[in-house]
């Protein structure tokens, strides 16, 4: 294919073609650490850091190259029109939105992994560079060719790398956070009995995650998916001597197996639906072109959704994620906040056409994905209120934020969802590592109520970075979370003036609620940890630089990454160059999606930003945060060491049997309710509900009950006793005597059963032979 973008990138293609190096380096490091780690002066940590640094540098270079390529084609948008080459229409760049924004197509390099069959003309080994800028409309013919060629092959499976905006973004995130976590870990798990083992697993995890990110076929995706699951299992159970930890590891593993069944079934369905192809490209293109029936896609998407639910901690399969906090904190930051748990979100993005068509996202009002995402973000947020373990607050917050991403993708806000993934990775990693730092100071306790409080004086750096992370998570401008959260809310298409892919009213309400709740529970966590008086026993201390430096870097990132996707109006208002607007969208949104969400088909649009929505959402968050703050302030005034009111109203209302076992615990319920009622929002509501329940509902129920009792009496006396019972008794005794007859048949003797079986078979065969 003769494409401008391809020419442009040819010079830089070394990085694309050798993207396999990025996962290969940590994989190599895993082997080296396993075999030689124990003998090295730093017990293998240096190998891990070196390998991940190298992978990080490669990832950064790839990212910049990618950005440069996109920029180059963006500048060429005037020239980039339809070309005709050899009588074949090929479109150089894909024009989607009204200004003709440019999308980069994936660069796929594949080699045959293994093949079966004796066909000599099997696919040629080596790299096969599929061109840049897959044409929007012209894929029909070219693909017919490729398909035809594929038919000749015997069964073969390819392994390859898929470089496009989405994967480049993840490469950057994974290597960046992994590197920081490696550095952080050298201090955090210092002197651990399985130090080498720990670093080996970190390396393996990094390799597997990168392998999964770069996968070009669904099979490869599954392999990577399972590998990260294994690493997660190994690292949650890092201190397996304690039963809780190994239980948590098992729970994570088993819960994920539930989703994996969905993954396997879904991928199998797609494999057969796409004409026996594992290629993500083929599957996506066929889904876009309507070559796979919508019903099939729907079933496949539902199955894959189960996998997303387990891996990305969506309700109701989220329960393993909070328990996974039993692992070391850096692991929680890397795996259970920033990277592995977003694998589900990543997969949705990777196979977005399947979900988009399968769930009918375009133009809808609600769908499974948006609903599950909404449920998760609200449910996770609520649960975060009642935790006394700082890491668990963050864990439920992660659940909630993952729900946010899924919600966004379910509403068709593709870029928003992935952008939130991107920003969330930084500030949540920052928060987790901050929590680790706090616990490092408080002698490895995460109990906010018993062992913390007033830490801001003792650990200023940690406090500052934690505050930045909190503000970013709560979505306060101009930090990262603000931009991504805002984009998601806009994407719902509910607020006047935003367009979007439909009108997702219920998800929007969920989203707004979550925005408020996030601010509230994070305020609570911050207050309990850093304000008030110190409630622990020993003097806390600031952590050493190997812990604080990653924190500062991550806090910095949490401040700046949001600016990658500023809305156009905002950029114009600040008089910045226009290319700063929606940069992330340009870079990340893949051509695979762009082809299918073409403007002509009018299926996919980007929502328009709305200043008023941003103001309202921020106000909501600030308000919620302020209410909680006020609550604790008053509490502090009563008793400096108190962490909750002792006689809350909630202990009397067992209303919240809403879904989670933790909420069944009176103590936590109490706290949640006091918190909310002090905020003055839910109290009257609950009372009103109670009143309605007691007076109206009960009245109706009683009425119905009385009526039915009298009817029942009548029926019993005249119909049941007389007519029905007579019939029943008769049939009963008939069945009983017949049963006595049959009882002889069931002797428990295998021989007798076998005799009957063979005899019956003989008779049947004879009947078939002679009678038919």
């Amino acid at each position: 294919m003769f494409l401008l973008a391809a020419e442009e990138a040819a010079a830089n293609s070394w990085l694309y073609d050798n993207a396999w190096l990025i996962p290969a380096l940590p994989a190599l490091s895993f082997l080296l650490i396993i075999f030689f780690g124990k003998r090295l002066p730093n017990k293998g940590a240096e190998i891990g850091i070196a390998a991940v640094s190298a992978a990080f540098i490669l990832a950064v270079l790839t990212t910049f190259t990618w950005m440069g390529d996109i920029r180059a084609s963006f500048d060429k948008k005037e020239e980039a029109q339809v070309l005709t080459v050899d009588g074949e229409e090929a479109i150089a760049v894909v024009l989607t939105a009204e200004e003709g924004e440019v999308r980069g197509a994936p660069i796929i390099n594949e080699v045959e992994w293994f093949g079966i069959g004796t066909d000599a003309n099997r696919t040629t080994l080596g790299t096969e560079a599929n061109g840049h800028g897959q044409p929007a409309g012209g894929e029909g013919e070219t693909h017919a060719d490729e398909e035809g060629h594929a038919e000749e092959k015997a069964f073969s499976i390819s392994i390859g790398t898929w470089v496009d905006g989405q994967s480049v973004m993840m490469l950057f995130v994974v290597t960046f956070i992994s590197l920081l976590v490696h550095i952080y870990s050298t201090e955090y798990v210092k002197g651990d009995r399985r130090y080498t083992h720990y670093f080996a697993f970190l390396s393996l995890f990094t390799a597997s995650m990168l392998f999964m990110v770069l996968s070009s076929s669904t099979l490869q995706l599954i392999v990577g998916w399972e590998l990260v699951g294994v690493c997660s299992f190994g690292l949650i159970g890092h201190w397996w001597e304690e039963k809780d930890n190994s239980d948590a590891a098992l729970k994570a593993f088993l819960t994920n197996r539930v989703g994996d069944i969905g993954l396997l079934i879904g991928m199998t369905i797609l494999y057969f639906a796409a004409g026996q192809s594992f290629s993500i490209k083929t599957i996506n293109e066929m889904a876009v072109a309507g070559d796979i029936s919508k019903g099939t896609l729907q079933i496949a998407a539902l199955c894959l959704m189960a996998a997303v639910m387990s891996k990305s901690g969506q309700f109701i399969l989220h329960t393993w994620l909070p328990d996974a906090m039993a692992g070391p904190t850096p692991v929680s930051a890397l795996i259970h906040a920033a990277t592995m748990v977003v694998a589900g979100v990543y997969m949705i993005g990777r196979l977005y056409p399947v979900f988009f068509v399968g769930f009918g996202i375009a133009g809808g009002t609600i769908n499974v994905m948006a609903f599950i995402g909404g449920l998760t973000c609200v449910g996770g947020g609520l649960l975060a209120f009642v935790q006394r373990d700082l890491k668990k607050v963050l864990a439920y917050s992660t659940v909630s934020q993952l729900g946010y991403m899924v919600l966004a993708l379910g509403m068709g806000a593709y870029t928003a969802g992935l952008f939130h993934l991107f920003t969330h990775a930084f500030f949540k990693a920052c928060l987790f590592l901050g929590a680790g730092s706090v616990s490092h100071a408080c002698h490895h306790s995460f109990d906010m109520k018993a062992d913390m409080g007033g830490l801001r004086k003792y650990m200023p750096t940690t406090f500052a970075t934690f505050m930045i992370g909190t503000a970013a998570l709560a979505g306060l401008p101009p930090l990262a979370g603000f931009w991504s959260k805002d984009e998601i809310l806009v994407g719902a298409g509910v607020w006047p003036g935003t367009e979007g892919n439909g009108t997702y009213t219920i998800p929007f309400i969920f989203g707004m609620l979550t925005a408020a709740m996030t601010a509230a529970y994070m305020t609570r966590a911050v207050w309990l940890t850093f304000f008030g008086d110190y409630r622990g026993h020993e003097e806390p201390h600031e952590s050493p630089p190997r812990i604080t430096v990653p924190l500062v870097i991550l806090a910095f990132m949490a401040v700046v990454v949001g600016f990658f996707n500023m809305p156009k109006q905002f950029v114009e208002a600040l008089r910045l160059p226009s290319r700063f607007a929606l940069a992330f969208e340009h870079w990340v949104e893949p051509a695979g999606v762009a082809t299918f969400v073409s403007k002509e088909a009018n299926k996919f649009t980007h929502a328009k930003p709305s200043l008023s929505l941003a103001v309202v959402a921020t106000g909501l968050a600030l308000g919620a945060g302020f209410l909680v703050w006020n609550y604790y302030k008053r509490l502090y005034a009563m008793d400096p060491k108190a962490t909750e009111y002792t006689n809350g109203l909630a202990s009397r209302i067992p209303l919240l049997a809403t879904g989670h076992k933790v909420l069944e615990n009176k103590y936590y319920l109490d706290h949640l309710y006091t918190g909310v009622i002090a905020g003055g929002t839910k109290g009257p509501l609950a009372r009103a509900a109670n009143w309605t329940n007691q007076n109206i509902l009960d009245g109706v129920v009683n009425l119905v009950g009385v009526t039915s009792v009298s009817i029942g009496r009548f029926v019993y006396r005249y119909i049941d006793q007389g007519v029905v019972d007579g019939a029943v008794n008769a049939s009963g005794s008939a069945a009983s005597s017949f049963g006595q007859l049959l009882r002889g048949m069931q002797s428990g003797q295998v021989r007798q059963y076998a005799t009957l079986l063979f005899g019956a078979a003989t008779v049947m065969v004879a009947v078939f032979i002679f009678a038919v």
């Binding site: 079966i116 069959g117 004796t118 015997a154 069964f155 021989r751 005799t755 063979f758 005899g759 078979a761 003989t762 065969v765 004879a766 032979i769």
Partner: protein, 178 residues
């Protein structure tokens, strides 16, 4: 020697030799099988089964399935029968006749088996009465069998390996003393 049998059996002129061999083998197999189900000593029964299995292996050779024959010997004679003998001996098989090996009403079994046999033979006779085997038979090469297993039947093959693993674990779990 056996390959000579094979070669001659599969050539045009050697048909009658193969036939003679086949009938001898078949007679041995049937007699041994009958003895197996009627003898009143468990070890004798297993040894008769051994004869039947060897005869079946010989039948495979006549049919040109050399690999299947070798597998039959390796798996059945070398493993399954040894296992069975093991089991028999571990469960204290007596030397000499045992009285309680059969049910009293053998005629039911005989009736069912005979009826089944009659029906099967009738249908076979109707279906393949005068169908002859292809005259020009080539022994099926092991290589070709391997190709077949690892291309067309790769999925059943993998499933089978999982089954064997499951059986292994199952057997250990069932027989374990705890």
């Amino acid at each position: 020697m056996m390959n000579l049998v094979l070669q001659t059996a599969l050539s045009d002129t050697g048909n009658w030799i193969a036939n003679i061999f086949f009938y001898i083998i078949a007679a041995v197999a049937v007699v041994a099988a009958l003895k197996m189900v009627t003898t009143n000593n468990v070890v004798h029964a297993s040894l008769y089964l051994l004869v039947v299995l060897s005869a079946v292996a010989a039948t495979y050779v006549i049919l040109g399935a050399e690999f299947a024959a070798a597998t039959q010997v390796l798996v059945y004679l070398g493993a399954i029968m040894v296992l069975l003998l093991f089991g028999v001996m571990l469960t204290r098989a007596k030397i000499g006749a045992e009285t309680d090996l059969d049910y009293d009403q053998r005629w039911i079994g005989a009736l069912v088996a005979t009826a089944l046999g009659a029906v099967m033979m009738y249908s076979l006779w109707e279906g393949f009465g005068d169908v002859t085997m292809p005259a020009e038979q080539v022994p099926q090469r092991t290589e070709a069998v391997a190709d077949e297993i690892f291309s067309t039947y790769i999925v059943p093959f993998e499933a089978l390996s999982v089954l064997l693993l499951a059986a292994l674990i199952g057997a250990v779990v069932v027989a374990r003393r705890d």
